[in-house]
Symmetry: none
Subunit: 214 residues, 2 copies
DNA sequence: CCCAAAATACGCGGAACTGCGTATTGAATA
DNA sequence: TATTCAATACGCAGTTCCGCGTATTTTGGG
């Protein structure tokens, strides 16, 4: 069975080098490439029958961290391998939080990259030894990350509603809990959806949770 | 230049297997072996001209965690590679804190173990893909004590479904992502509901989340 | 090789949710 | 005072979800 991958890399020279190294492994099939995160997402919209994305970190328009977040949210089954020259702690930490399954150095050779792809698709994670060491250090001394990125203009009542949603209560149950009508619950939820730019309860809870609101 | 290593492993069968696998690499020289942490420390007292220790976790008298701490305290220059079997999140975390430089699965072959030793001595860290994944999870969710209370007998596929659910994807979207029919998605979700004793997506995600499953 | 479990697939009827209107009341505030 | 906004309330049409059957194929152990 072929392995379908996508690549996001703004440097055409690096992209070509990557393609060349992967060319030795015929089971790898590059379905599409993109010059930035936005383009990658557009490509995935057309074809998300992709096993794994090789992702550069430094890209214009939308960088690798943001793109990784977006991919893992929309297509959680797709694995993301970060591929970068820089191995600074900040990026590493953010990439891990964004949901990357591995973190490779661009200097790694074709065999190592191929092995990393296989390891990742077998349900593991892959990282270059240098990265692995930094990851261990992260576990030993975690970077404390301040949150509350945005509150989306939610009111106290709406946050209260979100809290109820989080626990999986139905609209009926929430109405009963808060002593308001089913219709009012509905309206609150509509307002929440509009403010959070989502369209169902799961997405609302996830977004609120990601932003430290509930 | 030969590489001097020591081994701590209580199971003589596993120890012999390890020796056999390393025999293919003549630059590796096993200076001494021990059946537990105490014995290892005694050996090191006699001869600590050792580059690296291969350390089992489960040992009588003094286990691998305690031994790792002791070694790193007394001989900080000596690298420690943990040899672990499989499902052992608690120990993994403690071993990292104790100062281990890498984590291998006992089932890894000689080449992988040799590569791990070389990577470690080159100033990096080494870990099997399965371990790397668990380490990433540790970074994402540091030190949650009451983790994995119960797994409810969920299958890997069902956990994958839960991951998709968590992000608020509709059944239709999930079907598309996983390349299965809408009906199959429904059936998986029914099975998840039964196992988790819930009746809607939010409750399922919450329960799974509370139990460290997703 | 056989069995049990897991993964896959389909349909029906009813329940719950969602989008889009409309509307009233009270509190804050410009 | 006029206006804005939050909170409350209602209905309809359409979508999605849920519970309950049934059934076939694949897979992992014994």
């Amino acid at each position: 069975m072929p392995i379908y991958i996508a690549i996001a890399e703004d440097n055409s020279f690096a992209l070509q080098g990557l393609k060349n190294r992967l060319a030795k492994h015929p089971e790898i099939e590059i379905k599409h490439t993109a010059k930035n995160g936005k383009e990658l997402l557009k490509n995935l919209q057309k074809n998300h029958n992709i096993d794994l994305v090789l992702m550069d970190l430094q890209m214009p328009e939308m960088d690798g961290i943001a793109a990784t977040s977006a991919v893992k949210t929309k297509y959680p089954q797709i694995k993301v391998l970060i591929l970068t020259t820089f191995d600074d702690d900040e990026n590493l930490f953010n990439a891990i939080l964004a949901g990357a399954s591995g973190y490779l150095l661009k200097e790694d050779n074709g065999t190592e990259i191929f092995q990393a792809i296989m390891d990742t698709l077998s349900g593991g994670a892959a990282m270059s030894p240098v990265i692995a060491l930094k990851t261990l250090q992260l576990v030993r001394q975690p970077i404390s990350k301040e949150q509350k990125v945005e509150d989306f203009g939610l009111t106290q009542r709406e946050i209260e509603l979100l809290t109820q949603l989080k626990n999986g209560l139905t609209n009926e149950e929430i109405a009963s809990n808060l002593h308001i009508s089913y219709h009012t619950v509905r309206k609150h939820i509509e307002n929440i959806y509009r403010k959070l730019q989502v369209g169902n309860k799961l997405k609302a809870v996830k977004k609120a949770s990601d932003n430290g609101i509930v």
